[in-house]
Subunit: 360 residues, 2 copies
């Protein structure tokens, strides 16, 4: 970068104090509009460039938050990136992207520490729990997003985390399908060791037990589109006794399941099989799927995440898990109360107005 | 961050040179596996944290690339974020996210300069061209991704840019629809002032003129899902003479158009109307859409983008536009060569194997 001018030069030219100059270039700092304008004009004419990094060495603030994420093919994560970026940006922070396959976390940790990052958000179901603990160990604020620390390893609250009420969500899915008269309900699982899948399945399982109804088949799709297609084929392999409903651990897999049911098995949704997903990604509302699903509120999850980051930056806050309530949005992939067999067209003919979600 | 140890302390404990320590913590620098291990062990035991920012003040390298993007609801951009992040990460760089509505770019520029960013990738059809020029003015390497500089303002090559061959892509779409016997072909436009839309429409227009075929209606969806639904309704408002094919300026809008055609207008794709999109996002291959579309190769576009960044970091390379070839992937949204009227089920019954793309 080519610039020789100092803050002092700018202050002199703009006829303001040096602190006014630094406040002008400090995101979130208060400075009058008039002062700001004079500083910006002087800075531009002198080609003055404040140096956020030099300042960070003094303030110990890089104003960078690392987002560690493993894959973006599930549309839920792009929503998170956009909402989190916008929220942090308003406060003068920006997201630094780290794509991790969830396996080798050592390299990621070293890099995170080299950048003197102010905080880390780990938004990945597949992420190793070590990374979170290592960051916490060296005093970097961490929030696990959409997952809790590995329960088996060291309990729930070694680090801060934000999840939706996955257990309750699983219950809601089971209760809806049971209420609609389904008795041959299968579960299509995501990554089996992920806290999201564990909680959703546990809630679903408990609701089924309570109703004295047993799982009617279970297959694992690992939160993967092709994996979910394979799992769906497996669930319907035994033609003599196929499921009449599937609870799928996320929307991304539910859409893959609907594709297999309709295009490969020639079945109708919900005429032959009801499908419930989880997340409520925008695609769930698309006319060709109209998926009934459990809503995870990205807005509320992101808000809680940013709050937990700030708490930890101020004072090492006690690790805790913030849980955001879930609710079901009904579209057309679950049959109506009376167990009739609607015409094949029914699902696809539904009025788009009938249940379009507010922020799709 | 809590650490007192210096590189000297680590070198002494690890019994290596100080430069070996700094090489160990410099992404991409060469250091023997044995040395690296000794340094990492010593660093961990001393809780030593290298400071990438302090180093950047000396090397003038922050190893941060800014990605300025306006919205992520079009699935094409998450693909770009993932591919670009992974490619840069392998080279020791990371993406810092800037979400911009494309209007107020001043704030974004100031922030980009404050972070002493090594380069900027602008991946947004809606982005103001000023930002790119301003960055170039102050010597920050810039690559426009999926757009060229505002032609009207100052010609094509004021900054480096990477696009696919949008003009040729538009031609390919028209040629395919004409070859299939369509004569009432409408165009559903994206943002009218965006270079992607301008080029796609120009290529489409020229191919239609060459065949002495005229546009059969045109409506603007502004690359927006709801906008595309409105535009589709408008194209089919005059029941006496509706289009028999639509070229849609991107897949995101093409999917919205297919939803309106089928669910609202009760039309079959491709039985009543053929649809061609642009991008080839993963959703285009989903069983419910099976969209025939023009492929933009994210891999090749990202590769060219990273190369252009490095060129400019080394020596102020001459601004140029790298153009990546396009090709059509045929699925089931365009009718077969013989203009018959396939059964309603035809599209949705297509074998998923018939044209699933390699990296969907």
């Amino acid at each position: 970068m080519k610039s020789g001018a100092t803050a002092q030069d700018v202050a002199r030219l703009a006829q303001v104090s040096q602190s006014a100059v630094s406040r002008t270039f400090t995101p979130g700092a208060s400075v009058s509009e008039d002062t700001r304008n004079r500083v910006m004009i002087a800075a531009k004419s002198l080609d003055y460039r404040p140096n956020a990094m030099a300042r960070s060495l003094i303030t110990r603030r890089s104003r960078i938050i690392a987002l560690v994420i493993s894959y973006l093919d599930n549309q839920f994560y792009p929503l998170v990136i956009e909402a989190l970026s916008q929220k942090l940006q308003k406060q003068g922070y920006h997201l630094l992207m780290f794509i991790s396959d969830g396996q080798e976390t050592d390299g990621v940790l070293d890099e995170i520490l080299q950048y003197q990052i102010d905080g880390v958000v780990m938004a990945s179901a597949t992420l190793s729990p070590d990374l979170a603990r290592q960051c916490a160990d060296v005093g970097v604020p961490v929030v696990l997003f959409n997952r809790v620390p590995d329960i088996s390893a060291f309990g729930r609250h070694t680090t801060c985390s934000v999840t939706s009420d996955n257990y309750r969500g699983g219950q809601l899915a089971a209760e809806l399908l049971l209420e609609r008269g389904h008795r041959r309900i299968a579960f299509l699982a995501g990554l089996e060791n992920s806290s999201t899948n564990l909680e959703r399945e546990r809630g679903f399982n408990d609701a089924m037990k309570k109703a004295r109804s047993k799982f009617h088949g279970r297959a694992v799709g690992n939160y993967n589109f092709e994996g979910a297609k394979e799992a769906t084929r497996a669930l319907f392999a035994n033609k003599s006794e196929v499921p009449d409903a599937i609870f799928v651990a996320n929307d991304h897999m539910a859409i893959a399941a609907m594709d297999v049911l309709r295009q490969e098995l020639g079945l109708h949704v919900p005429g032959d099989v009801s499908v419930v997903g989880f997340d409520d990604v925008p695609q769930a509302a698309w006319g060709a799927y109209r998926l009934t699903t459990v809503i995870q509120s990205v807005e509320l999850m992101v808000e809680a995440t940013v709050d937990l980051l700030h708490e930890q930056m101020k004072d090492g806050a006690r690790p805790r898990n913030v849980v955001i309530p879930c609710e079901v949005v009904e579209r057309d992939s679950v049959r109506a109360a009376v167990p009739d067999s609607p015409s094949p067209k029914r699902a696809s003919r539904a009025k788009p107005t009938s249940s379009s979600r507010p922020s799709a």
